[in-house]
């Protein structure tokens, strides 16, 4: 019924469109068209990603060659933060903090979900646009504003937030404890507040669109897995981001209004504070109640994108479609009851810890199911190794590698001696810095023709992929071993090990040099992508309507973007999206809009 209602509205849209031309501002800037908003998210995220990557190169130089003067550092940080080309201790922490914040929230939450949910939800469901174009536009502009505020914090006198991306109080609450907890932290909190609002508005819009605006015949069980992933992601966001907002608000009150939510019995820098009765652990519970769902908010869209890409380019249906939906739902549900695994050694009750061990290891089951299903999809396929396909395969590999180390970390007993070491850093970079980022790249390569009506250069795509996977594995693989040797994370200089264990110090320094070199190579590899991306937008060869010979609805729209997506009536869906190489069919793909042939079974 809802679909029908929209149909009528859609007609109206299509008509009114022939009559007036959009102005530049309403087309490119304050656009309410989901395709343009998706592209705006992508552009902003790419920019933020480049900044965050640059920050990481800056601190990696310090880690590999501690205390040595570097032209590169003084070029970007100047005398204030890198006097004589040597990074300041506090700024090291500032760089790490902002790098993490941007990567997790701005690139992988705003960028990944914002770009592809916007782009694909209406297109793959057969809707004219999002449920609310205005809210969608608002969501983007709030994202933009929060990005600007976050970046501006890099340029203030006392520096950006320096308490790590998790901003645990009391460190983040007390400017006396570190300079970044002054104005820098205030800006961080303001930026994130706006970001959360943006994310909430966006997610609500996605949910409503998925539930109400599916075209005729598009039942929930005929939706592509991408949409399932975006949908569950949006639900996770709506349920968990408000908790982060409360955590941030309480922190703001502790900082500005003298409350004691997180503070108790503190003497900092010689000053005895009156705060009594608050608990720093309260903050951690609130933060990780978002924080763990957040990692799946980051990963699920990537898994959704790669499901689609792997199926299309294997020319085979995704194996176990229903099991894939089941795993997405199971992961979504379980991700709300595992947050305590980040707090095993915080002094939380050990019994509570055991409960979290149990729930956390449960989540490995649906994750394993997904991996096996991907592998089986490849089995006996007819693989077309496009750049998108390569990245999607890379995603599966890194999801395995990062998932299995998660199992070690989830064992509270084992976590005791590796918590907060480089082993954790390695784990989450393999799943976020590789899997999720690979998913994003795969999505860009695959849907670029839909976004810009042009093709990206395939060979440059290959170069980009191979540099990236070799570079990134080269960065994050050795980190496991640095962590197993006991190296704490967020240390400015590992040569402190020289004072008690020189061989360990040597090992860490060796590996740190290797890691930094790979990081620089991988970063340079991204230039290939950036070049390909921008060059192709302007000068790439024109795309055809359905370049990958794919089944989903977005490939039935014209190459030229029009408001309302389909020029005539909305398409009607007759089958699931994965009829690739179906026996008896002539072509190796059957679009969702093709009615079942006589005697054909649905699948």
């Amino acid at each position: 019924m809802a679909a029908l209602a929209h149909e009528a509205h859609g007609h109206h849209d299509a008509h009114s469109h022939d009559h007036h031309e959009e102005g530049f501002v309403s087309k490119y800037i304050f656009s309410q068209d989901h395709k343009m908003i998706g592209k705006q998210f992508l552009m902003t995220a790419v920019f933020m990603g480049v900044v965050a990557m640059l920050l990481s190169i800056l601190f990696r130089i310090q880690l590999a060659w501690p205390g040595e003067s570097s032209d590169f550092l003084s070029m970007f940080l100047g005398e204030t933060w890198a006097p004589g080309g040597v990074l300041k201790e506090n700024m090291y922490l500032g760089l790490v903090t902002i790098h993490g914040t941007i990567m997790v929230f701005f690139l992988l939450t705003g960028g990944l979900s914002g770009t592809f949910s916007n782009m694909l939800i209406p297109l793959q469901l057969g809707a004219r646009d999002m449920a609310s174009g205005f809210l969608n536009m608002l969501s983007y502009w709030m994202f933009f504003l929060s990005s600007v505020i976050m970046l501006s914090s890099l340029f203030i006198e006392t520096g950006p937030a320096m308490a790590g991306w998790t901003i645990y109080p009391p460190l983040s609450a007390l400017p006396q404890a570190i300079e970044g907890s002054g104005l820098g932290m205030t800006l961080w909190l303001f930026s994130m507040t706006i970001f959360i609002a943006s994310s909430l508005i966006g997610s609500l819009n996605y949910i409503v669109t998925v539930l109400n605006l599916r075209t005729k015949g598009m039942t929930m069980t005929r939706m592509p897995l991408t949409i399932w992933a975006f949908f569950v992601t949006a639900v996770l966001g709506v349920l968990s981001f408000p908790v982060l907002l409360s955590a941030a608000l309480l922190l703001m009150m502790d900082r500005l209004a003298g409350t004691s939510f997180y503070l108790s019995d503190i003497i900092v820098n010689g000053e005895m504070l009156e705060n009594h009765g608050g608990s720093p652990l309260l903050y951690q519970h609130l933060f990780w109640f978002l924080g763990h769902p957040e990692v799946y908010i980051v990963l699920l869209p990537a898994l959704g994108l790669s499901s689609e890409i792997i199926s299309t380019n294997s020319r085979k249906p995704i194996f176990g479609y229903r099991a894939m939906i089941g795993s997405i739902l199971a992961i979504g549900f379980l991700s709300f009851i595992v947050w305590g695994h980040h707090m095993f050694v915080t002094g939380m009750n050990p019994f509570l810890g055991s409960v979290f061990v149990f729930t956390t290891l449960l989540i490995a089951i649906p994750s394993a199911v997904k991996v096996f299903n991907y592998i089986t999809t490849l089995w006996r396929g007819s693989l077309v190794l496009t750049p998108a396909m390569l990245f999607a395969i890379g995603l599966v590999s890194t999801f395995i590698t990062g998932g299995v180390t998660g199992i070690i970390l989830a064992d509270s007993a084992l976590d005791i001696a590796i918590h907060d070491t480089y082993f954790v850093v390695a784990h989450f970079h393999v799943v976020m810095g590789m899997s999720a980022v690979f998913g994003m790249f795969a999505g860009v390569y695959h849907w670029f023709p839909k976004m810009y009506g042009k093709m990206m250069n395939t060979r440059l795509g290959y170069v980009h992929f191979w540099i990236t996977i070799i570079g990134a594995y080269g960065v994050f693989f050795p980190m496991h071993f640095v962590g197993l040797a006991g190296a704490p994370r967020r240390y400015y200089d590992y040569s402190v090990y020289n004072e008690f264990d020189k061989p360990a110090a040597d090992m860490m320094m060796d590996l740190n040099v290797i890691i930094t070199i790979f990081a620089i190579v991988a970063a340079l590899g991204q230039l290939v992508f950036l070049f390909n991306f921008f060059y192709s937008i302007f000068r790439g060869p024109k795309a055809v309507q359905n370049p990958w010979r794919s089944n989903t609805l977005e490939w039935t729209t014209p190459v030229e973007h029009i408001h309302g997506n389909w020029p005539g009536a909305l398409p009607v869906v007759h089958r699931w999206p994965y009829d690739y190489s179906k026996p008896g069919a002539e072509e190796d793909f059957i679009s969702q809009i093709v009615p079942l042939a006589e005697g054909e079974e649905e699948h």
């Binding site: 003497i267 194996f319 099991a323 002094g347 395939t458 693989f477 967020r490 060059y535």
Partner: protein, 415 residues
């Protein structure tokens, strides 16, 4: 400057060069009538081969890293539970490494083997319930095994320490550790952060520390750097003094804060029972090194003065956070002495260490304490040389005859 220029020139030239290459490539594609989305078999095959090569590289890299760096690092576990810990880690590692190899192999091998070949159609295979059941149940069983083993160890490690365990407090602040041993009664003295003064850095609670904290709050430090309530009031009330408004607001706030804290101190004083003084008086404070006895059980109590720190003993496989306003505990029993470990590590300069493992400020990375594990006899010899808290605290306070004068000799940490 020149560096910036060179970098810029290189970037610009690089971009131009790539652009030219791409143009060339596009021209030749156009000539051959090849579209970007048509992946030629040659490219497909090349990438398939790369997949296999990459897999070999990945596995080779892993084996190389494992053999070169996998067994260095922290060395043998030097505590009782640490041995179980290492065993458990090995079991889990073995499992995940097997999974890592098998699944990655299948993934890359299939990507290589099933690359598109002319005339071969993909096999339509949408699902198979039996297969899916198998790979839900098998991981579930393996995980159950991991959970049971893990929780058994976890419960052992986190259970309460026995009575014989020596109580030691580790006090953390930006950026150092201080140890406090629970003297002869094996009971740590009580504390309250408001009692912190220069001579009572750990804020131990006794009648004398209470009195001196109150006195300092009232009359300030003797060198005048820290103002007591009396002086603050005098200054603020003296019409001859003219302050910048900002300073005045600050001083008033300071006065208010101190007045409130003083009230709390008096409350504490009226409730104080001097019987508990003894608990604190026999404690021994040591800021430099943590001395432990081999084969002795310990219960460590952790406190933080300013922000969260984390007490990380990599060689003993122990870690717990130190949280302001909360006392956390961890117990372990060192089983290898420092000199034995030096031999095992084949490194005469080796030492055990306690590091901070929770971001706590700029010098976080320097926050550590050397840990020395000795035989009981040499430990006891060392312990005898240490003064108790009573001796230390009263030694500074004693020479002063009158109460007023005592306060003057105390230099305060608190302003």
């Amino acid at each position: 400057m020149s560096f910036k220029l060179v970098t810029l020139v290189v970037i610009v030239l690089g971009a131009v060069a790539i652009a030219q290459l791409v143009r060339l490539y596009e021209h030749s594609s156009k000539l051959r009538n090849r579209r970007e989305e048509d992946i030629p078999n040659r490219d497909n095959k090349l990438n398939a081969n790369m997949m296999l090569t990459f897999m070999i590289l990945l596995f080779g890299g892993f084996i190389w890293l494992m053999s070169t760096y996998g067994f260095t690092g922290r060395g043998e576990a030097a505590s009782e539970h640490g041995k179980t810990y290492d065993w458990l880690l090995d079991v889990n590692f073995l499992l995940i490494v097997i999974v890592f190899f098998i699944t990655n192999f299948l993934l890359f091998f299939f990507s290589f083997k099933y690359v598109r070949k002319p005339g071969v159609k993909a096999y339509f295979y949408p699902h198979n319930n039996k297969l899916e059941l198998i790979w839900t149940v098998v991981p579930a069983i393996v995980l159950a095994f991991i959970i049971i083993l893990g929780l058994k160890t976890w419960n052992n490690i986190t259970s309460d320490a026995n009575k014989e365990a020596i109580r030691v407090e580790l006090f953390s602040e930006q950026f150092k550790w201080t140890a406090r041993y629970a003297g002869n009664d094996n009971k740590l003295g009580y504390f309250d952060y408001k009692l912190t003064t220069d001579k009572n850095q750990l804020a131990l609670l006794t009648t004398a520390t209470l009195d001196s904290a109150i006195r300092i709050m009232e009359v300030g430090s003797h060198d005048g750097t820290i103002l007591g309530i009396k002086l603050l009031e005098e200054k603020l009330n003296n019409p001859k003094n003219i302050f910048i408004p900002k300073d005045r607001v600050k001083m008033e706030a300071d006065l208010d804060r101190k007045t409130r804290l003083l009230r709390l101190l008096y409350q504490m004083k009226y409730r104080h029972n001097s019987n508990v003084d003894a608990r604190a008086y026999d404690d021994v404070i040591e800021a430099d090194t943590l001395h432990l006895m081999k084969n002795q059980d310990y219960e460590f109590n952790f406190r933080a003065k300013d922000v969260i720190h984390s007490a990380y003993f990599p060689h003993f496989r122990a870690q717990i956070n130190a949280v302001p306003g909360l006392t956390t505990r961890f117990k372990f029993k060192p089983t290898i002495s420092t000199s034995e470990m030096k031999q095992k590590m084949n490194n005469p300069d080796f030492n055990f260490v306690l590091m901070c493992n929770k971001i706590c400020g700029g010098a976080h990375y320097k926050m550590k304490m050397i840990v020395v594990v000795d035989s009981p006899s040499s430990y006891k010899k060392w312990f005898k040389t240490k003064k108790t808290f009573k001796d230390e605290f009263l030694a500074v306070s004693a020479p002063a005859p009158a109460a007023e004068a005592t306060a003057d000799t105390l230099v305060v940490a608190v302003n």
